[in-house]
């Protein structure tokens, strides 16, 4: 039995026991305390179900605010115990028990027949695809077609499109000069898109017919204060590239040891996604076979938390061989908030569920007004126009005497104030 199952059995058992004790105790205060224990157990189960935010809301709102309200009303009314009265509905208890047992039996039957866990959620999300144009041999802006359908139009060299959601499956990708006849499109190659994935198709190559490669993106949440970087090598001037970190040095001496970040990245391949702490880096791109010759500097390149960057090392058009001028294309995308986190819930709540949110807010307002109306006492009406004053039943001297401890009987009789006939006590 794994530790998770053991925790589930213990916490679930405590929650059921607390619920049963809530029903069985006579004292309402004890019932409320058992219900709080039950709520805390359920909050713990929420934590096990990847819902940390709801667990905190459960403890703060349910176990905190709502149960304090219950305890307050119980103690205000002195309703810890309800007097025993002759039960009018004597048939209610056995009927309830029979109903509960039949409900449990029916649902158990439904669960065993339905087999909830075999209904694995199908991977239903369409894959996200974006296209990067890094083919220096094809310098014009292009339209990109997949299976003859237009995917992206007007993509400049050195640019990347936004993500588009396309159905999963195989695509034969072809490109044509922007605005040109789709029939003239050059076939680049085939790509396969898996459901529920995010992928980038990079067109690269110095020749007139570009190649295409697919990069798997990772849009999941990054840990605190770190960003994710994927490097793609689209540079034609060397068979493979290293990316090194020479710090602020402009040159790498022949015998100098510099930390290597990525080693031997062949043309047309992408590195694995790596996480880096938030900072700016000064990386250098060197050919693998000639590691002292910096071909390109990534100067003050920022790594930002909460972002996934695809860094494409390519070249500008025009040059051939030694004359290649490298360039980089950095494509930054925000990572998705992780499941059940406050930001994921907030994003869903304020984008998809704004109207229900507003309706619930109005409901809360109506409840507040309703509570005020319900608890207002209808029989207290201040009588208008009549001056009200407190009736003084004792002369002032006796009050002073009782507070100071002197005997007033020795004093001479003082004239008493004449009280108005109609004076009434005010207040309750």
């Amino acid at each position: 039995m794994s530790i998770e199952v053991a925790l589930f059995v213990i916490v679930g058992g405590v929650s059921v026991a607390a619920a049963a004790m809530m029903l069985l105790t006579e004292n309402a205060v004890h019932s409320a305390l058992f219900l709080i224990l039950n709520f805390i157990c359920v909050a713990f189960l929420y934590l096990m179900l990847d819902a940390p935010f709801l667990a905190m809301v459960q403890i703060a709102v349910y176990a905190g605010a709502i149960m304090v309200l219950f305890l307050f009303v119980i103690m205000l009314l002195g309703a810890e115990k309800v007097g025993q009265s002759a039960r009018e509905f004597k048939w209610l208890a056995p009927v309830t028990l029979a109903l509960a047992l039949s409900f449990v039996f029916a649902t158990f039957f439904a669960f065993s027949a339905g087999d909830i866990d075999s209904n694995d959620p199908v991977a239903s999300g369409d894959p996200l695809l974006r296209v990067v144009h890094a083919a220096s041999g094809f310098p014009e802006a292009v339209d990109v077609y997949g299976n003859g359908e237009l995917l992206v139009s007007g993509l400049e060299l050195g640019g990347g499109s936004d993500y588009v959601a396309v159905p999963a499956g195989d695509y034969a990708v072809s490109v044509a000069v922007a605005g040109d006849d789709p029939a003239l499109a050059l076939p680049l190659g085939d790509i396969t898109l898996q459901p529920d994935s995010a992928q980038t198709a990079v067109a690269y190559g110095a020749g007139r017919l570009p190649s295409i490669a697919l990069v798997n993106e990772d849009l999941s949440d990054t840990p605190d204060r770190s960003g994710r970087v994927i490097v793609f090598n689209a540079y034609s001037g060397a068979p493979a590239l290293n990316i090194v970190d020479p710090g602020n040095d402009f040159l790498i001496e022949a015998d100098e040891e510099v930390p290597v970040i990525y080693e031997a990245l062949a043309q047309g391949t992408a590195s694995a996604p790596e996480l880096y702490r938030q900072r700016t880096v000064n990386w250098a791109v060197v050919p693998s076979d000639n590691p002292d010759n910096i071909v390109y500097r990534l100067r003050d390149y920022p790594i930002t938390p909460g972002e996934t960057q695809l860094l494409v090392i390519g070249e500008e058009p025009g040059g051939v061989g030694e004359g290649l001028r490298p360039m980089n294309i950095a494509l930054v995308s925000q990572t998705l908030a992780s499941f059940g986190s406050p930001s994921a819930i907030g994003a869903s709540l304020f984008v998809k569920y704004v109207l229900p949110f507003e309706i619930v807010a109005v409901l809360l307002l109506a409840a507040m007004v309703g509570v005020i109306v319900l608890t207002q006492r209808g029989d207290v009406k201040p009588k208008p126009g009549r001056p009200t004053r407190r009736k003084v039943s004792r002369p002032l001297t006796s009050v002073i005497a009782s507070q100071t401890g002197h005997d007033v009987h020795d004093l001479p009789e003082l004239p008493r104030l004449k009280e108005p006939e109609s004076a009434e006590p005010v207040g309750d």
């Binding site: 679930g12 219900l35 179900l49 309200l69 009303v73 009265s85 959620p121 994921a344 819930i345 998809k352």
Partner: protein, 100 residues
């Protein structure tokens, strides 16, 4: 990894206990607390299914249920206080306000 089915069965047991409390207890405040227990059981099932399907919508629904439960408790307890003021009792069996 605990099956979703286990969570749903636990939720069902809690729901049944809550409904028994609604039917059997005579203290009106206890009846309200049992309703809260039933709402909580439903929330637990919603969160379990949200985990199974990887959709955050279930969490949003739980959020709304908690909000509605809070307003329901406020109004319900105000009703109980108002009834206690006139009848001097919150025993369900003694409240026959609608009797002809």
């Amino acid at each position: 990894m605990v099956n979703t089915e286990a969570y749903v069965i636990l939720s069902m047991v809690l729901f049944t206990l809550g409904s028994m409390g609604v039917l059997l207890r005579r203290n009106a405040i206890l009846v309200f607390m049992s309703v809260e227990l039933m709402l909580n059981a439903a929330n637990l099932a919603l969160v379990a299914f949200a985990k199974q399907w990887g959709e955050v919508d279930g969490h949003i629904f739980v959020f709304f249920v908690i909000t509605v439960a809070a307003s329901e408790v406020a109004v319900g307890l105000a009703l109980i206080v108002a009834i206690f003021r006139t009848k001097k009792s919150i025993n369900i069996d003694e409240l026959h306000l609608m009797e002809g």
